[in-house]
C-alpha cells in the first residue's frame, strides 16, 4: 500500500477551510424522521425550550402542529413571527415571513418542514432556500425532515411505497447541516398513534394513506432513515479520525465515474450513483461523452443530458462533458487520468443482436480498463424526471399543413411524367417531397408527407388507378420500402436541419460573444464598457438588458441599458438588489423571487459582487434552456471581468492621483519654505547690517544693502502673489470676466509693469494694427503676458530680443512669446506647466516654478490652451490659443473731416 498514512496537504487545507466556514456560519440542525407522526416537531420544540431556558433568543418562524395538542402546548412561551398573507389565485395563502424573520434576527429560528414548497409569490421556491438565506444572515435554524424527501432517495422511496414524492430536498442541504438528529419511533407505536388519531397526515399523501402507512412501508422507511443517519455518523467518525490524525489503515479515497448517455435513465442513474458515493464516501464524477454519432440526436435530448449534469452537480458531483470518437476510449482515458476506482453505467437498452455484433460498452471497459464496472439496471422513467425537461418547441401546425401541398405537387409532377417513366421512378419523386418537407418543416411533417405520398402514389398511379386496392402484391414491397426510406430520409434531414439551426445560433452567439469581448477590451471607461455590454448582450439574447451597479450606500441602480426593464417599479429593483446582496441569481426562471419580470444575474468579481445583469427574455426564449443558461452566465462573467478591470483601473488611478497630490503638497512645502526663507534671510541680513552699523559704512555700501532689501522684498511679494493666484485657480474661486480687450494695451501694461526688471532689455512686439478686440479677462491675461515675458527674460539670451506676436484667424486668437535661449530639454514641453517644476536650466534661478502653471490655469479658464516648444534656431516659444466667440461690437466711426485737433 503506497497510499500515505496522513492526510494530503490538499485534504488538510480543505478541512481547515470547512472548519473555518463552520465556525463563522450559523448552526443548522435537522430533526430527521422516517415519516410523519414520529414526533420530529415535538422533539424540536422540546429542545427549543431547553435552549430558551439556557438564555438563547429563540423565535418560532413557522411550526405546523397539525392540531396535535401536546405540540401546541409546547408553543406556549415561545415568540412567534406572524405569517405573511400572500394573495394566490383569489385566496390568501399564509406563508412563513422570511423578511420579518431576517428583520427580527433571533439567535435561533424554528422552521418546520424543510421540504416545503413555498406558495408562488414568495421569494424562494423552496423552504430550504429560505433557510440558506437565514443561515447566511447568521441565524441558527432548527428544522424537520422526513426521509422520503431526500433527493437521492426518491427512487428508493417510490419503489418501497409505490407513491411518487414531489417535494424533495437536495442532499447537499443535508450535508450542510451541522447536526442531524434522528427522531425514531418503532412502526407499531406509530401505527398505534395513527389509530388513536394522534397523527395527521398531510393532504398529498392522505389519498394514499392506506397504502403509505402499511407496516411494511414503515419498517422500510425506518430502515432507510436509520441507514441514512448511520452513514452520516460514519462519515463524521471518519472526518474526526482525519482531523485528529488518528492512524488507521488509510483507505484509498474512492472515486466513482458515472457515465450518462441515455436521457431516459440518466436521472435514475445519477441518484443511484449518489447513494453509492454516499455509502462509499467517495468522490463522484458524472460525465457525458459526446461522439460524432450523437450529432444525429435531437436537440431536446442534448438539453436533457445537460440538465442531468446540472442535476448531478446539485447533488454534489463533479461534472464534465468529454468529446471523442469512442465512448469507451474516452471513459478509460478519463478514468486513468483521475484515478477512478469504479465506473458506473446505465444498462444498455439497445437490441441484443447489436450488442452481440459491436460488443457492449461495459464489456469493453472491463476488458480494457482496471476499474470495477457497475451497471445499474435501466428502467424507463415513468415521469421523465424530477427536473423539468427543456421545453420541446410546440409542433407547428403550419408545418403539417405544408405536407398536403407538397404531396399534391409531387403528384402533379408524377402525372406529367407518368407517360415516359416507370412507376418505380415516379415513387422517387415523392422521396424528393419528403426531403423538402423535412428541410422546411421538420420531422413530424416529413413523416406525414411520407404517408400521404404512399397513399397518393397508390391511389393515382398503382393499377388499378383511382382506387386504394392493389392488383399486384409486389407493389406492397414498393410501398414498404418507399415508406421506410422516406421516414429515414425525413428524420435524418430534419435532424440535420435542426442541428444546422442550432449550429448557426451557436455560431451567431459565439461571434457576438467574441465581438463583445474584443470590444470590452478596447473600451477604457466604465460607461463605454457598460454600453457595449448592454448592446451586445441584448443582441445575443434578443432581450431587454440592463446593468445595475451599486452606489456608495450599496444601493444598486440602472447604469446602462433598458431602464424600462424596471418600469415595474420598486419591486423589480428590489429583486435585483437581493441578487446583488446575495450574489445569487434571482427572478424569472429561477427558484428565487420568480415572480419578477426579468432574470437577475450577479456580476461576480474576483472578490465581491460588482453589480447585477438584468435580462428580460422575450416570448419563446422566456423559458431558459441549458444552452441559454450557460450563455447568460458567460455573458455575465465577461461583463464582470471588464467592469472589474475598469473599477480596478479607476481605483489605481485614484491612488496614483492621490500620491501625485501628496508629492505636490510636499513639493509645495519644500519650495515655500525655501523660497520664503531665502529672501527673508537676505532682508534680515541687510537690514541688521544697516542697523548695527558702528563704523559708518561708506554711502555706496549702505545703498547696496538698501537695494538688496528692496529687491528681496519684491521677490517675496512676487512669490506670495503667485501662491495666492495658484490657490485661487485651484480652488476654482477664479472668475473670468471676459470683455472685448485690446492685446496691444495689455502687452503695453505688462511691459510697463516690468520696466524696473527689464531695464533696456530688447523686446520686439509684432501686433498687426488691424488686430480685432479679443474677448478675455484683461487683468488675468495681463498676468499671463507678464509671466511669459518674465520667463523669457529669465531663460533667453539677454542681448537678443524677446519676440512677442499676436494674430487672429477665424475664431481663434494666437499669442506667442519667444526667446533665444537654451530652449527646453526633451520632455519638458508639457512638464514646464506643472506646478513647482523647474527645468534643468531653472535650477539655481529665482522663482518657485509657479509662473507657467498659473499661465496654464488662466488660459484653461478661458477655454484656451497653451503650448511650449523649441524654435528652429534655438530658444523656446510659448503659444497661447484662445477661442473667439462672437464678433467684436462695432464702434461707429467719426466723420474724419471734422478734425478740430488741427491747429486753429
Amino acid at each position: 500500500m503506497t497510499e500515505p498514512a496522513r492526510p494530503t496537504p490538499e485534504e488538510f487545507l480543505a478541512r481547515a477551510r470547512a472548519e473555518e466556514e463552520r465556525l463563522r456560519r450559523a448552526k443548522f440542525k435537522i430533526f430527521f424522521g422516517a415519516c410523519a407522526g414520529v414526533g420530529k416537531t415535538y422533539a424540536m420544540l422540546v429542545e427549543a425550550h431547553e435552549r430558551k431556558r439556557a438564555g438563547t433568543d429563540v423565535v418560532v418562524g413557522l411550526v405546523e402542529t397539525h392540531g396535535r395538542r401536546e405540540t401546541e402546548l409546547l408553543l406556549d412561551g415561545l415568540e412567534a413571527i406572524p405569517r405573511a398573507d400572500l394573495p394566490y389565485r383569489g385566496t390568501v395563502v399564509r406563508e412563513f415571513d422570511l423578511d420579518a424573520a431576517l428583520a427580527r434576527r433571533p439567535a435561533l429560528l424554528l422552521l418546520d418542514e424543510l421540504a416545503h414548497t413555498n406558495a408562488p409569490g414568495s421569494r424562494h421556491r423552496k423552504r430550504w432556500q429560505d433557510i440558506e438565506e437565514l443561515l447566511a444572515a447568521g441565524i441558527d435554524v432548527y428544522t424537520t425532515l422526513n426521509v422520503q424527501h431526500v433527493e437521492s432517495l426518491l427512487d428508493v422511496v417510490r419503489d418501497i411505497t409505490g407513491i411518487p414524492i414531489r417535494e424533495s430536498v437536495p442532499d447537499s442541504v443535508l450535508d450542510r447541516a451541522d447536526e442531524v438528529e434522528l427522531v425514531d419511533l418503532p412502526p407499531d407505536d406509530l401505527l398505534q398513534r395513527l389509530h388513536e388519531g394522534k397523527v395527521y397526515v398531510a393532504g398529498e399523501i392522505e389519498s394514499a394513506r392506506a397504502n403509505f402507512f402499511r407496516k411494511g412501508n414503515l419498517i422500510a422507511l425506518r430502515e432507510l432513515a436509520l441507514r441514512q443517519t448511520a452513514q452520516r455518523v460514519d462519515a463524521q467518525m471518519e472526518t474526526y479520525r482525519l482531523t485528529e490524525g488518528i492512524r488507521k489503515p488509510w483507505s484509498v479515497r474512492e472515486r466513482i465515474l458515472v457515465c450518462v448517455g441515455d436521457p431516459a435513465t440518466g436521472v435514475r442513474l445519477v441518484r443511484a450513483a449518489r447513494r453509492l458515493a454516499g455509502a462509499l464516501r467517495a468522490d463522484w464524477i458524472v460525465v457525458h461523452v459526446e461522439t460524432p454519432g450523437q450529432l444525429l440526436e435531437s436537440r431536446s435530448d442534448r438539453d436533457y443530458i445537460v440538465g442531468i449534469l446540472d442535476f448531478a452537480f446539485e447533488l454534489g458531483a463533479e461534472t464534465s462533458v468529454l468529446t471523442g470518437l469512442r465512448v469507451s476510449d474516452e471513459l478509460l482515458a478519463f478514468a486513468s487520468a483521475r484515478n477512478v476506482s469504479r465506473i458506473v453505467l446505465g444498462e444498455s437498452r439497445g437490441p441484443r443482436w447489436l450488442e452481440r455484433v459491436r460488443g457492449s460498452l461495459a464489456q469493453d471497459l472491463i476488458r480494457r480498463g482496471r476499474a470495477d464496472v457497475w451497471v445499474i439496471r435501466g428502467e424507463e422513467e415513468t415521469e421523465r424526471s424530477a427536473r423539468p425537461p427543456a421545453p420541446i418547441p410546440a409542433p407547428s401546425w403550419r408545418g403539417y399543413g405544408g405536407a398536403l401541398p407538397i404531396v399534391a405537387l409531387c403528384t402533379l409532377a408524377a402525372a406529367a411524367l407518368s407517360r415516359h417513366f416507370d412507376l418505380s421512378n415516379l415513387a422517387m419523386l415523392y422521396l424528393v417531397g419528403v426531403v423538402v418537407a423535412a428541410t422546411a418543416f421538420g420531422r413530424g411533417p416529413a413523416i406525414l408527407t411520407s404517408f400521404l405520398g404512399v397513399v397518393a402514389f397508390d391511389f393515382f398511379f398503382v393499377p388499378p388507378r383511382y382506387t386504394f386496392s392493389v392488383s399486384d402484391s409486389q407493389y406492397l414491397v414498393t410501398f414498404s420500402v418507399m415508406l421506410l426510406v422516406a421516414i429515414v430520409i425525413g428524420t435524418l434531414t430534419a435532424r440535420l436541419r435542426e442541428q444546422l439551426r442550432a449550429a448557426r445560433q451557436d455560431q451567431r452567439r459565439t461571434a457576438a460573444l467574441n465581438r463583445m469581448s474584443q470590444e470590452l477590451v478596447a473600451r477604457g471607461s466604465l460607461r463605454d464598457i457598460l454600453g457595449v455590454a448592454v448592446d451586445r448582450i441584448a443582441e445575443i439574447l434578443e432581450a431587454g438588458v440592463a446593468i445595475l451597479l451599486p452606489d456608495a450606500g450599496d444601493r444598486i441602480a440602472v447604469h446602462a441599458g433598458d431602464g424600462a426593464l424596471f418600469g415595474g417599479g420598486e419591486h423589480e429593483r428590489a429583486v435585483a438588489q437581493w441578487t446583488y446582496q446575495h450574489g445569487k441569481e434571482a427572478g424569472r426562471g429561477t427558484g428565487t423571487l420568480s415572480g419578477a419580470r426579468a432574470l437577475h444575474v450577479p456580476l461576480a468579481g474576483s472578490t465581491r459582487v460588482l453589480g447585477v445583469l438584468s435580462v428580460r427574455l422575450s416570448g419563446s426564449a422566456a423559458h431558459r434552456d441549458a444552452d441559454l443558461t450557460r450563455t447568460i452566465q458567460i455573458l455575465a462573467g465577461q461583463t464582470a471581468l471588464a467592469v472589474e478591470r475598469c473599477v480596478m483601473a479607476e481605483s489605481a488611478e485614484k491612488a496614483r492621483s492621490e500620491a501625485e497630490a501628496e508629492r505636490a503638497r510636499s513639493a509645495l512645502l519644500g519650495s515655500v519654505s525655501h523660497d520664503l526663507r531665502t529672501p527673508l534671510a537676505a532682508i534680515t541680513g541687510a537690514a541688521t547690517s544697516l542697523l548695527e552699523d558702528q563704523q559708518g559704512l561708506p554711502e555706496e555700501s549702505r545703498r547696496q544693502l538698501a537695494e538688496s532689501i528692496v529687491e528681496e522684498a519684491r521677490r517675496l511679494n512676487r512669490l506670495i502673489a503667485d501662491l495666492l493666484e495658484m490657490t485661487r485657480l485651484e480652488s476654482g474661486a477664479l472668475s473670468v470676466r471676459k470683455e472685448w480687450s485690446s492685446i496691444e494695451e495689455i502687452v503695453g501694461a505688462a511691459l510697463t509693469g516690468l520696466e524696473s526688471t527689464f531695464g533696456d532689455r530688447p523686446v520686439r512686439v509684432e501686433i498687426p494694427d488691424d488686430l480685432p478686440l479679443v474677448p478675455l479677462d484683461e487683468v488675468l491675461f495681463e498676468q499671463v503676458v507678464r509671466n511669459l515675458l518674465e520667463n523669457a527674460n529669465k531663460y533667453g539670451d539677454p542681448s537678443l530680443p524677446i519676440e512677442v506676436a499676436a494674430s487672429a484667424t477665424g475664431n481663434e486668437f494666437r499669442f506667442s512669446v519667444a526667446d533665444r535661449g537654451p530652449g527646453l530639454a526633451a520632455g519638458d514641453e508639457t512638464r514646464v506647466f506643472e506646478k513647482f517644476y523647474r527645468g534643468a536650466a531653472g535650477t539655481g534661478r529665482p522663482g518657485a516654478g509657479l509662473g507657467l502653471s498659473i499661465c496654464r490655469g488662466i488660459v484653461e479658464a478661458h477655454q484656451g490652451r497653451i503650448t511650449a516648444s523649441n524654435r528652429p534656431g534655438g530658444g523656446a516659444e510659448f503659444v497661447v490659443w484662445l477661442p473667439i466667440e462672437g464678433r467684436p461690437p462695432r464702434v461707429s466711426s467719426e466723420p474724419e473731416g471734422d478734425e478740430k485737433g488741427a491747429g486753429a
Binding site: 528692496v710 522684498a713 519684491r714 511679494n717 502673489a721 495666492l724 493666484e725 470683455e739 472685448w740 480687450s741 485690446s742 496691444e744 494695451e745 495689455i746 502687452v747 503695453g748 501694461a749 511691459l751 510697463t752 523686446v763 512686439v765 501686433i767 494694427d769 478686440l773 484683461e778 487683468v779 495681463e782 512677442v804 467684436p888 461690437p889 464702434v891 467719426e894 474724419e896 471734422d898 478734425e899 478740430k900 485737433g901 488741427a902 491747429g903 486753429a904
Partner: protein, 236 residues
C-alpha cells in the same frame, strides 16, 4: 526733496491699522517734509479728518472696524480733501469702488516711498487747483505737449491731428494728469452717460491715440493702462 504744495508743511493723516506700515510711513513722510498724524481705525480716521483738517488722507482699505470705502464716502460727505488709497494687489474692484466713492488715487501694496510721494504730489496739486479755481490749460511731459485752449497736440516734435473724440479723451486725461481715471469716468466724460458700458469704444480710441502719440504703441510712455481699472496720463 521739497513738497510741491504751497504754504507750510502739509499735514498728512494716515489711517492704517498695521503698526510696521505706520512706522515706515511716519519716517518716510516726516523725512520728506510732511507733518504726520495717525489713526488706527476707520472711525478714528473720520473723526481725525474732521478735527485736524489734514491736507491729505492716506487710507488703508483693509481696516478692522469700517470698510475703507465707507470711510471715503463719509469724508466726501463734507470735504473735498485729497484721499489716496492703499490697496492690495489683485483687488481691482476695490480700487474702482474707492475711486468711484471719491478717492483721488491709489497705490498698490507693496509700494515704494517714491511712488507714494508722486501720487500724493499729484493729488495735492489737483486739490490746490480746485481750491483756486485755476483751469488746466496746458500739459507737457517729455516729447508730448498739449495745449488745451488751442486744441493743439504735439508729439515727438510734430503736430498730431486728432479727431474730436480723440482730442476730448486726451484732454480729459490731461486735465487729471497723473491720476488714474476709471473706464466709467472716461466714458461718461467723453461720450456721455449713456456709454458707461461701452468699454470697447474706449479701447478702440485709446489704441488710436497711442498710435498717434506714442513712439512705440506697445511700450507706451505717456498713456498708461491700469488693467481692470482705467487709464492714466503720466506726468513726470
Amino acid at each position: 526733496m521739497t513738497s510741491a504744495s504751497p504754504g507750510p508743511e502739509p499735514l498728512v493723516l494716515v489711517v492704517e491699522d498695521d503698526p510696521p506700515i505706520r512706522k515706515f510711513l511716519r519716517a518716510g513722510l516726516e523725512s520728506h517734509g510732511y507733518r504726520y498724524v495717525e489713526a488706527t481705525t476707520g472711525g478714528d480716521g473720520i473723526a481725525q479728518a474732521s478735527m485736524r483738517s489734514p491736507d491729505l488722507v492716506l487710507l488703508d482699505l483693509g481696516l478692522p472696524d469700517v470698510d475703507g470705502i465707507e470711510v471715503v464716502r463719509r469724508i466726501r460727505e463734507w470735504s473735498t480733501l485729497p484721499i489716496v488709497v492703499l490697496s492690495a494687489r489683485g483687488r481691482e474692484r476695490d480700487k474702482i469702488e474707492a475711486l468711484d466713492a471719491g478717492a483721488d488715487d491709489y497705490v498698490t501694496k507693496p509700494f515704494s516711498m517714491g511712488e507714494l510721494l508722486a501720487r500724493m504730489r499729484v493729488a495735492l496739486r489737483h486739490r490746490a487747483r480746485l481750491r483756486t479755481g485755476e483751469e488746466v490749460t496746458a500739459f507737457e511731459s517729455g516729447d508730448l505737449s498739449i495745449d488745451l485752449a488751442r486744441r493743439r497736440v504735439t508729439a515727438r516734435g510734430k503736430e498730431v491731428r486728432l479727431t474730436p473724440i480723440e482730442f476730448k479723451l486726451l484732454a480729459t486725461l490731461a486735465r487729471f494728469a497723473g491720476r488714474v481715471l476709471t473706464h466709467d469716468v472716461l466714458l461718461r466724460e467723453v461720450w456721455g452717460p449713456g456709454y458707461a458700458t461701452q468699454r470697447h469704444y474706449l479701447r478702440v480710441y485709446m489704441a488710436q491715440l497711442r498710435h498717434k502719440i506714442e513712439a512705440d504703441p506697445a511700450r507706451p510712455k505717456h498713456l498708461v493702462t491700469e488693467p481692470g481699472v482705467g487709464y492714466r496720463l503720466r506726468d513726470d
